[in-house]
Symmetry: C2
Subunit: 82 residues, 2 copies
Amino acid sequence: MYLAKVYITLKPTVNDPQGLTIKGALHNLGFTSVEDVRAGKYIEVRIKENNLTKAEEQANEMCRKLLANPVIENYRLDLEKA
Amino acid sequence: MYLAKVYITLKPTVNDPQGLTIKGALHNLGFTSVEDVRAGKYIEVRIKENNLTKAEEQANEMCRKLLANPVIENYRLDLEKA
């Protein structure tokens, strides 16, 4: 069993209205030292698979096919034995 | 300048309809080895602050006051020099 931790972020050139809204709210709360905020997704997928390479392959395929939108998003994967 | 990476997850006992939907979609795509999916948020906050301890304090306060809902969510922080 492996736990795949998937971090999905918008590509740097893509406009991020959610991040801008959070930044505005933080400024309003008095956190004036906040320069920039980018909002992304974090997904944990538990995979029933004993082979690390196979688990990693599957997780990558899941990201390409469903979890991340390759046009506007980047993703990063961490796998750990669970 | 520090970059705070904030990982926000639902507490284990909290129901996660988004995660269940993703799990269903992965099963439909043929990823039958997926046991469980939990969906969370990943936020990057760039803080204009030279002192690591102060930056960390601020990031923690932001999480408590705005980014995470302590009733149903846990958060984890990583700070790195940017």
